[in-house]
């Protein structure tokens, strides 16, 4: 058995494998639901209802999708340029830390200055965190997968230190938790009375901006060229190193925004469980979206819906909500395989 490249894949060839991947995901989940003693149709029905069944649940899904849109965009931007940023988790926390440093009363600014300032600082923090590994990659050829991945653990321990030390909330009864943001540093609700906050709108705008950068600007053209064929790009005079560094700044900045949005829009304070792995789930989101910025929005909503819906389903009929993790993992694996099959044909010899 071997793979033979397909020169010009037909529409069917591009659509059917991804569709099969989704079907296979549901098949695997169905089998596991059966094992757990649930009727698959009931399980999926409840997941769907839990995610989109009411105004409240829809907005909850949007809220959960928000950080995933940011990290998904961060990954998509970097992966397009073949910069393998696995460090969105740390970049997210860097953004959150800066938001907390500026937003807990150190500055007496009105909201219309405070919020942009926090957002920019968060972007800058995330961007600088990725700039280091990018410089090591371009200058010394150090593999950024290793540096960004391992830096996640270092940075999380650093955040833990901050929350036990300099940033610890004096009123926090000893919990490792930062002080709460002042009202001027909080993103307002998007819909009055409900939990959905402006971070979601900011995420959608970011997706649009990334899409415009990709398709309309010279930077987008350069990033795509470097990602597709760095040798040809360099030969044509595209400044490859500079483009990689710019990509790193954009990617890290988007991940930093995720941290700002979560702290300022949702939590109001920094704790160590701010992100249950949004930086890593962002990789799944970006891959499911085939690295397309608008696809990231859809993929993030899909992933968020599964998690929100599975929680609600689990409360209703007792099938463990781990089903969501399995669905996500199998969706990724099947999708990677499906993408392969859109470009190659399997031949038996």
């Amino acid at each position: 058995m071997r793979l033979e490249p397909i020169e010009a894949p037909s529409t069917a060839r591009r659509v059917i494998p991804p569709a099969l991947a989704i079907a296979a995901t549901f098949l695997v989940a169905s089998l596991l639901a059966l094992v757990a003693g649930g009727n698959p149709f009931a399980v999926f029905g409840l997941i769907l209802k839990g995610a989109f069944g009411s105004k409240f649940s829809i907005l909850e899904t949007f809220n959960s999708a928000t950080p995933l849109i940011f990290t998904g965009l961060a990954i998509a931007v970097a992966f397009r340029a073949k910069l393998w940023n696995i460090g969105a988790e740390a970049q997210l926390y860097a953004g959150a830390v800066l938001t907390v440093v500026l937003g807990t009363g150190a500055l007496g600014l009105p909201a219309y200055l405070m919020l942009p300032l926090c957002a920019l600082a968060a972007m800058l923090a995330g961007a600088l965190l990725l700039l280091g590994p990018a410089l090591l990659k371009t200058r010394l050829g150090v593999d950024e997968v290793v540096t960004t991945l391992l830096f996640n653990f270092i940075f999380l321990l650093f955040v833990s230190y901050l929350l036990e030390g300099p940033l610890k909330d004096p009123m926090g009864m000893g919990w490792p938790k930062s002080a709460r943001l002042t009202p001027e540093a909080r993103l307002p609700r998007l819909v009055e009375g409900l939990r959905l906050h402006w971070g979601f709108a900011l995420a959608l705008i970011s997706a649009l901006v990334v899409w415009v950068i990709n398709t309309r600007t010279t930077l987008g053209y350069e990033m795509r060229a470097v990602g597709q064929n760095a040798e040809a790009a360099g030969f044509a005079g595209i400044p490859v190193t500079r483009v990689i560094l710019k990509t790193a700044l954009l990617s890290g900045g988007l991940a930093g925004l995720a941290g700002f949005s979560e702290v300022s829009g949702l939590k109001g304070a920094l704790t160590l469980d701010l992100s249950p792995g949004f930086g890593y789930t962002g990789i799944v989101v970006a891959m499911l979206a085939l690295l397309h910025p608008l696809g990231v929005v859809l993929a993030a909503l899909f992933v968020a819906a599964i998690f929100v819906g599975a929680d609600s389903m689990s409360r209703a009929i007792g099938v463990p909500s781990y089903l969501a993790d399995i669905m996500l993992a199998s969706a990724l694996l099947f999708m990677v395989l499906a993408i392969l099959l859109t470009k190659f044909r399997l031949r038996r010899d």
Partner: protein, 519 residues
């Protein structure tokens, strides 16, 4: 082989058809190969030669048709079957392990290197016998990584002979050889056929086909369009059969050289791994001239090409453009200084495969001509791509398709258009027609001649001596990073240039035409 006696048929292909989606790579191809016969398989790139050989070797399975080897049907899709039945193939790109010795490479895959029954001494003596009989001079104990390209090819042939190959398939065997080495190869092949081997010789160099083959099979668009006894045909007819029409090469009239536009004074560059850098090169490119750079691949052409492309800077010496040396040297500086660069590898360096034609057309000028304050002007870019498609006869469905779907010739035309539209006064053409069909070859050569006529200085780097001698006003030979003196058009015979290519003459600057390997 005389025509009257019917020699034994060793290989028979019957109605071989192979389709890749809508493309038919081979359509109903049938032929016989006889004992002691050399068949030349002639055809442009994409004519289906390689597919046919891949089917024979079980890499692909034919959709229709059958193959018989020595009267036995060959099971389809079984890569070892052809090998075991006695077919040996020498690929264009060698398949040797650099870190093993010659004899180890030869037995690799036949015996286990550590097998207790393997007697190194017997193996080596058998290799020496074969080498002597077939005039394949090579030391069995030498490490393959240290061998020249010509020697490596001999090892490949020895490998096939060691496995008792009765049929030898050579894919473009002379592409990497000096004329002398090629002549030595022909001596070997003659010896092989006189001892009963059969040979399939894949090439598109017509004079070689005339020199070595008994029969010529011409493939065009996957079909066997002609079969001729070599003695009954000629080069013109074969060229016409290959492309399906009479073709004429552009003619170059002699004219006086203009001022030097680019000059190198004692320029050296560092070695790049196994590829030598430049060694104190003195060199000029003059307006209105085509300067040909002949040489065997891997002798410093890459370094010179990278230097003029802006990818590397001299480690010593001075480079002057229009009389002054550029302050900063980079690909962008090269483009800004009016150097048009046609890279050696159009797939890897010249284009981005998954970019469409528009995106590829503006690769070098997007920043200066197709964007404003960071915003791309795609309308203008697309119009530019359309004008290139029209102006340079790029055959394609439109500017929005990915360039990987274009044939090599059309890809090259787009690159040509992209750089020539900038009205360059220096043109670096590195292997500009390698792998192209004759129609595209003549087109590219015609454009180079036109550029020369309007006063551009052209550097033509090629391994094809025919091409160099036909187009160049001045010829240099490069060998191990050293440059020969400039030879004016028509003053050197191919054998003399070949001697320089083999590295003779550089120290003494005398004419050492002794070719040690030629028999």
């Amino acid at each position: 082989m005389s025509n009257s006696e019917k020699a034994q048929v060793v290989l028979r292909l019957q109605g071989i058809t192979k389709r890749f989606g809508p493309v038919t790579a081979n359509a109903d191809v049938s032929f016989d190969l006889h004992r002691g016969e050399v068949i030349a398989l002639l055809g442009e790139n994409g004519a289906g030669k390689t597919t046919l050989m891949n089917i024979l070797f079980g890499q692909y399975t034919a959709d229709e048709g059958a193959i018989e080897l020595f009267g036995q049907p060959l099971p389809p899709g079984a890569p070892r079957a052809a090998l075991d039945a006695g077919v040996g193939m020498v690929h264009q790109h060698f398949t040797l392990a650099d870190n093993l010795t010659v004899w180890e490479n030869i037995v690799l895959g036949v015996d286990h290197l550590t097998a207790p029954t393997l007697k190194a001494r017997q193996v080596k003596s058998r290799i020496r016998d074969l080498a002597e009989r077939f005039h394949l001079k090579v030391d069995p104990n030498a490490r393959v990584g240290r061998l020249t390209v010509g020697e490596r090819q001999r090892v490949e042939i020895l490998k096939a002979l060691y496995r008792d190959a009765k049929i030898l398939i050579l894919d473009e065997p002379t592409a990497v050889l000096t004329p002398q080495e090629a002549e030595a190869l022909f001596t070997t092949l003659r010896e092989a056929i006189s001892s009963g081997l059969s040979v399939i010789f894949i090439s598109h160099k017509l004079h070689e086909v005339m020199a070595i083959s008994h029969r010529v099979l011409v493939l065009r668009h996957g079909q066997l369009v002609a079969e001729r006894a070599t003695k009954d045909t000629n080069r013109e007819e074969m060229a016409a059969l290959m492309v399906g029409a009479e073709v004429s090469a552009p003619s170059i009239e002699a004219r006086a050289a203009g001022a030097p536009l680019l000059s190198l004074r004692a320029v050296s560059t560092p070695d790049q791994g196994a590829a030598p850098g430049l060694k104190a090169l003195n060199f000029e490119l003059c307006a209105g001239q085509i300067t040909g750079l002949a040489g065997v691949s891997g002798n410093g052409q890459a370094a010179l090409s990278d230097l003029l492309s802006g990818l590397i800077t001299p480690s010593a010496g001075e480079m002057a453009l229009h009389g002054s040396s550029p302050a900063r040297w980079s690909p962008r500086a090269a483009i800004a200084n009016g150097i048009a660069r046609i890279p050696e590898d159009r797939h890897k360096t010249g284009t981005i495969a998954d970019f469409d034609l528009t995106e590829n057309a503006i690769l070098e000028t997007y920043a200066t001509r197709f964007s404003q304050r960071g915003w791309m002007d795609w309308g203008k870019a697309r119009a530019f791509a359309e004008s290139l498609i029209k102006g340079y006869d790029v055959r394609c469905p439109g500017p929005d398709i990915r360039i990987r779907l274009l044939s090599g010739g059309n890809m090259q035309k787009l690159i040509l258009g992209r750089v020539l539209e900038e009205n360059p006064d220096i043109i670096l053409a590195n292997q500009p027609v390698r792998g192209l069909d004759i129609g595209a070859v003549n087109y590219v050569h015609g454009e180079l001649a036109k550029a020369r006529a309007r006063g551009a200085a052209v550097l033509l780097i090629s391994e094809d001596l025919d091409e160099i001698m036909r187009l160049s006003d001045v010829i240099h030979v490069i060998s191990e990073g050293r440059l020969s003196p400039a030879f004016a058009r028509g003053t050197m015979r191919p054998e003399e240039l070949g001697s320089w290519m083999a590295g003779h003459g550089f120290d003494s600057h005398g004419m050492d035409t002794g070719a040690p390997d030629a028999a």
